[in-house]
Structures are given as structure tokens and as C-alpha cells.
Amino acid sequence: MFSTAQSLDIAVALGWSDWRNPLLFVLFIPLVGLAINVLTQIVLLRLAKGRGFMKTIALGFFTGALFTFIAYFVAGVIWCSTAEDRGSLSLLLEWLFVIGPTYAGLGYGYASFANLGNTSIRIRLCEELRQYPAGRPVEDIQQQYSESGILHLRLHRLSEGGDLAKLEDRWRVNRQRFVRIGGVIFFAKQVVLGRRSEFDFH
């Protein structure tokens, strides 16, 4: 049995052109997992005619993750069971610590990218301005993007997603996921920027 370091040396020596090189699997498995994630999400969203956006994001992520870990397991078993006995359990564990965070990072990146296209005020404003080569009066834009408009679009999205509910004319939190995410984000703001909100100066 080779040590992990020796196994890594052997893998590096196989280079780019030998398809048996396990590093190529470690490199490409998360990328293929990401591709499956993206395709699944887009197909599901099209089938649902644009509804249930967050559900399609979650399903896409888990489908990609499932592929990633099955492919990792199969590649690991094949590598460790070769006649030369080139592998070791610690090498398998090392792959897991590379493939897991890499897929999670790419999947999270895609989810945020998709969500940005869906909800970002900046992105939507730029897209609209692109359709007005002669520019738009500031007042028109302010009217369209009033604080009230921002509020009602979000209330609609959040109630449709089951995060908020309106009971007896009062809005209440129905599901805690965005509250928890918000808590993490506000804590991170404090650590990185030294303030909890961009409006702290008010």
C-alpha cells in the first residue's frame, strides 16, 4: 500500500493525457456536477413555467450533488481496487475534501447568480436602461422603483414561496430560512465592514 503522498506523486506523474489519472476525475466531477445542476434547474423552471424558482434551485443543487458523490465513490473504488494497489483510504478522504467544497462552492455560486438575475434591482434597472438609448428621466425611474413597489413585489414573492403569510391584515414570518440567512449576513457585515447595515449612518 502506498502512502497518500506517494499516491499523489503517481497521480501527478500520469499527467493530463492519461485518462486513468484520478486527479482528472477530481477536477472534472464537480464541473460535470455543476452542469447537471444548471440543466436540471433550467428544465424544471421551464416545465413549471417560471413558478417555484427557489424549489428549482434546490432541486438542481441536490441533483448535481447526487451525481458528484456517486461519481466520486465510483471513481474512488476503481482507483483503490486497481492491481497496482495505488490508492489508500486517506487519499479517498482527501478527494472528498476537495470535491465536496468545490461542488458546494460552484453550486452556491450558481444559485446566487441565478437569484441575482431574478431579484437584483441593479440588474433589472440596467436591462431596462438598455432599451432606452436616449436615457430615462430620473423621476420616471423613481416612480417605477418606488419603495412601495419594492415592498409589494417582495411581499408577493415571499408569500408565494411560503416565507410570509398574511393573517388578519398582519404579515408574519411563516418560514424562518430567510431570517436565518439574514442573521448570518448581518453578522458577517459586522465582521467585514464593521457595520450591520448600509443605512447605519441614518
Partner: protein
């Protein structure tokens, strides 16, 4: 754990330096500066690892380096995207947190008042000006030249499953 430690270690060092830098002085254009910093740090970090003998020179162009690069950049993407939520408050998250602090819930009037105290749209419009994506002349707002590659990619992707909501 050499590959995992190298990728995560390089990211952690880049992150700590960024944290110190930001606490000393916030850059004028935070997000582009952050992204450029993490991109730039990768070759610098690898150069240092090679110079101190932690990464064999013969491995530099091997799949091992590509694996470490993929791990480092996936962590970078994660952080840079998360940072966009740190830099500017999210109306959705702000709203949810605020409502969650009201045990009896909030009326429409309460919510309108909360949103009026947080001029999200004005802040975004200013950010677009600062980032050079828009310009204002004589009371009108114009898109400043060709949109960035990132913007075009996100719009093309969005077109795959429908049009973008206007307003709000």
C-alpha cells in the same frame, strides 16, 4: 490532505489580508477590487509556495495545480457573491428580519414606514453611478457604454426562462 489544505489555505490567507485591508480602509469600488484581489493573489500565493518548497516545480502545470485552482476559485466565487449581499442590504432579507422581530406581525402601514426609512433604490442608483455603469445628465439616466460581460451573461441566462419583471 495536501490539495485540500493548499486550496483552502491560499483562500484563507487571501481572505485574512482582505479583512485587514477593509478594516483599515474600504476601497471606493469594493466588489471589483475584492474580485481582482482574489484573482491576483492566486499566482502570488503559488509563487510563494513554490519559492518556499511547499509545491514542487514539476507540479506547477499538472492536474494537481488545476485541482487546487478550481477549489480556490470556487471558494472565491462563493465569497465574492456573498460579499455583494454584505456590501448592499438586501430588501428581502432586511424585510424578513424586521418582520421576524415583531411578535404580533406587521401591518402594511408598518412595512411602508420601514421601507421608507431605507432608500434601497436610491442606494442602488448611486452604486451604479459609482461603478461607472450609468451616467446622469440633465435629469436623465443613461447606460454608460456597452454593458459588462457579467451583466450580458446574466441577462442571457435569464432570457432562457422568461422576461425580467419591471419595477420594484
Amino acid at each position: 490532505m495536501r490539495l485540500a489544505f493548499t486550496g483552502v489555505g491560499l483562500f484563507v490567507v487571501a481572505f485574512v489580508i482582505h479583512l485587514v485591508w477593509w478594516r483599515i480602509k474600504l476601497p471606493y469600488r469594493q466588489l471589483p477590487t475584492l474580485f481582482k484581489w482574489f484573482l491576483l493573489f492566486f499566482p502570488i500565493g503559488f509563487g510563494a509556495l513554490k519559492a518556499f518548497g511547499f509545491w514542487p516545480p514539476t507540479w506547477l502545470l499538472s492536474p494537481a495545480t488545476a485541482v487546487v485552482a478550481l477549489l480556490y476559485f470556487s471558494l472565491t466565487i462563493t465569497y465574492v457573491i456573498t460579499y455583494s449581499a454584505l456590501e448592499a442590504d438586501s430588501p428581502t432579507l432586511s424585510l424578513m428580519r424586521w418582520i421576524s422581530q415583531k411578535p404580533d406581525g406587521a401591518t402594511e402601514a408598518d412595512l411602508e414606514s420601514f421601507m421608507a426609512s431605507r432608500p434601497f433604490f436610491q442606494a442602488r442608483l448611486k452604486a451604479l453611478d459609482v461603478d461607472g455603469m450609468t451616467v446622469r445628465r440633465e435629469g436623465r439616466v443613461y447606460l454608460n457604454g456597452q454593458p459588462s460581460l457579467f451583466f450580458r451573461v446574466i441577462i442571457s441566462w435569464r432570457a432562457l426562462y422568461g422576461s425580467i419583471d419591471k419595477g420594484g
